[in-house]
């Protein structure tokens, strides 16, 4: 451990002091580099020199590696293998490394005959619409409540916050009846209309809270300067606030798309027509009518896109997951 006493810079002028300080901090960081993040953990460097601890850490490392590979990767690899394995092989020897035959035809069969292509498209349309409406509502409301701040803003804040305490289950039946018979539209029903999924998803208090807190932290001087230059509220929103808010827009987007991709019960209720249903609703329904190998191929195709998205945008996903605990949300 380096000394914790602050370095003294007597008779040194400010710029030098600053650079000197930076040098010290830099060195301290460098000295700690082995601890990866720059912070130390529970096991100290001193502990790590102990032989018992060394062996123990090696064991921990091994168990962690094997456990995480089996639990995290195992089921996906099995699914990938079974997607191209004939049904009988999967049933008789589910864990055989090399199947007797490879049945590539499963994949096109699932895609074309089971109409996974159609349901895939439906899922994408549902996710895209939910994303759009959630962003629209969260950014406009966040902007109005954080930047424009009308007198009645506290009342709206309270009303939005209050919905966080109401679990989604209580809304299930009344919301369903609202969709069957929407207000002000007469006899039109929103059943089998994607708006029935998009709009309720947009009534998301958590999104508004996240966006509003982010907007609250933006520097007000910039807004004042823009206003002095003649920017109106719309210009301010579109050209100043939104471009400054890309990080939080990314987080809300990830939340919105994942939630839409995962949702099952609600789309099942409001989209009874199979032609418009997403994968999550169709997969359990087609299970009975198709062979196991084709079904597993369908499952594999449905998993591919989210997994690839995750591997590409790992950073955003994991950061959002940390936020998902609402630790700071």
């Amino acid at each position: 451990m380096t000394t914790t006493q602050p370095p003294v810079f007597e008779g040194v002028d400010a710029p030098h002091a600053a650079s000197g300080l930076r040098g010290v901090i830099g060195r301290r960081r460098a000295a700690r580099r082995p601890d990866e993040t720059g912070d130390r953990g529970i096991v100290s460097d001193h502990d790590r020199k102990n032989r018992g601890v060394k062996v123990g850490m090696g064991g921990v490392h091994f168990v962690l590696f094997v456990g995480l590979v089996i639990a995290g990767l195992g089921p996906l690899l099995w699914l990938a293998k079974s997607a191209v394995t004939p049904t009988q092989d999967t049933l008789r020897q589910p864990l055989a490394l090399w199947p007797n035959g490879i049945d590539w035809a499963n994949l096109p069969q699932a895609w074309n005959d089971v109409h996974i292509d159609q349901f895939f498209w439906n899922t994408i349309v549902i996710a895209a619409g939910s994303w759009f409406f959630q962003l629209l509502v969260a950014t406009t409301a966040g902007y109005a409540l954080s930047v424009l701040r009308p007198r009645y803003a506290p009342i709206l804040n309270g009303a939005i916050l209050a919905t966080l305490f109401i679990p989604a289950v209580v809304l299930l039946v009344p919301l369903y009846l609202t969709i069957v018979n929407p207000p002000l539209l007469g006899d039109v029903s929103l059943l089998n209309n994607y708006l029935a999924v998009w709009l309720p998803a947009a009534a998301n208090a958590f999104n508004i809270l996240l966006v509003k807190r982010f907007f609250d932290a933006l520097p007000r001087e910039v807004f004042e300067a823009a206003k002095t230059d003649g920017a109106g509220p719309f210009r301010l929103f579109w050209s100043i606030v939104l471009p400054m808010s890309k990080p939080i827009l990314g987080v809300v987007s990830v939340f919105a798309i994942i939630a839409a991709w995962k949702d099952f019960l609600w789309p099942m209720l409001v989209l009874p027509d199979p032609a418009v249903q997403p994968l999550s609703v169709r997969l359990p329904a087609v299970q009975q009518s198709i062979e196991l190998d084709v079904f597993l191929a369908a499952l594999a195709i449905s998993t591919l896109i989210p997994v690839v998205l995750f591997l590409v945008f790992q950073g955003v996903f994991l950061r959002s997951a940390g936020l998902g605990g609402a630790v700071k949300g």
């Binding site: 406009t140 109005a144 009342i155 289950v169 209580v170 208090a205 509220p233 995750f310």
Partner: protein, 332 residues
């Protein structure tokens, strides 16, 4: 609500007087007889503010605020989609409370929550602590741990249903066979069905918790470990007396979140077993679903909402507790 009052900071450099408005009615001009005030209100930005608020107001009114109120009303009514609803007082509640399945559903839900607490709660903590101590390949491990969370839940359940094949050549039974354990019935016996659901649910959710705990572990001040070492603390001492006490805020929050989530468990029992065998996996939410949407006599929306309202009151108390805690957590 400290949150709402906090942002009542003085309206910055905007001397134009805005008319006060009644609660929930953000359209003040109608109550102002003089057009001059209307004009100053529009010029002061009142109208454009309303334009920005409109999407939120419409969506929340139709799909959030009014359904919340409706659910309370509907729980006191006999409703079907054909006739006008009639008031029946507390009849729906009496019916629900007299349903012999309700006790089963509550016990099953509590059993699910308890098992999830035993398996699912400690596991991510242990994994996160171990992961934070392994110096190499942290990103790789985080990605591996998070992968199951990325798999769509419906796919995960359907895949595990194949794993749970009760024949001796089923995947899990094959593995058990390697270590000499006889094949298990998994989803097909009322004794093993619920633990099987919890096992899958734990696998599906652990990754998210691990990532959250990893972030929390980073915020433990390293000086505390230094100080503990000066006092001669062993590694185990440090975990027990420094790490866990430092994490207790987030641990409690995660505990409440998990209880709220498990109380609303639906997907697993619905897709794995449909509530069987012998109603061993009927949960409260499955019962609500059956009242409303799987009723041969047509939807019994009154009973469904009555049960939802009762569940919601319990959960709202928990959410309130959660909110109070996170607020303290993020301001401190």
């Amino acid at each position: 609500m400290t949150l709402s009052t906090k942002h009542q900071a003085p309206t910055e450099g905007d001397p134009v007087p805005r008319p006060a408005s009644g609660p929930m009615v953000p359209a003040p001009p109608a109550r102002r007889p003089r057009t001059r005030n209307l004009r100053t209100w529009v010029r002061g930005g009142g109208l454009s503010t309303l334009v920005f608020l409109a999407p939120m107001l419409i969506v929340f009114t139709v799909f959030s605020w009014s359904p919340i109120v409706q659910s309370v009303i509907m729980s006191l009514q006999e409703t079907n989609l054909l006739d006008a609803p009639t008031w029946v007082g507390l009849d729906n509640f009496v019916h629900v409370l007299n349903d012999p399945l309700l006790g089963t559903a509550i016990l099953n839900t509590l059993y699910f929550a308890l098992l999830a607490l035993l398996f699912g709660f400690p596991l991510p903590i242990v994994v996160a602590v171990l992961m934070s101590e392994v110096r190499r390949a942290k990103g790789f491990y985080s990605a591996l741990a998070y992968l199951p969370v990325v798999v769509p839940p419906v796919v995960a359940v359907l895949l595990w249903k194949v794993f749970y094949d009760a024949s001796p050549t089923g995947l899990f039974n094959t593995i058990l066979g390697w270590v000499g354990i006889p094949p298990q019935p998994w989803l097909q016996s009322s004794a093993t069905a619920m633990p099987s659901l919890v096992l899958e649910a734990t696998w599906a959710a652990a990754g998210g918790s691990i990532i959250i705990y990893l972030a929390a572990l980073l915020s433990v001040p390293p000086e505390l470990y230094d100080a503990a070492e000066v006092d001669g603390a062993s590694i185990w001492n440090k975990i027990w007396h420094v790490t866990l006490p430092q994490l207790r805020g987030i641990l409690f929050i995660m505990l409440i979140l998990q209880v709220i989530a498990t109380a609303q468990v639906f997907l697993e029992p619905f897709l794995f077993t449909g509530g069987g065998p012998n109603n061993a996996t009927v949960t409260i939410l499955l019962l609500i679903y059956r009242y409303a949407f799987q009723n041969s006599l047509g939807g019994d929306y009154g009973e469904a909402t009555a049960l939802s309202v009762m569940l919601a009151i319990v959960l709202a108390l928990l959410s309130w507790l959660y909110f109070k805690l996170t607020e303290r957590w993020s301001t401190s």
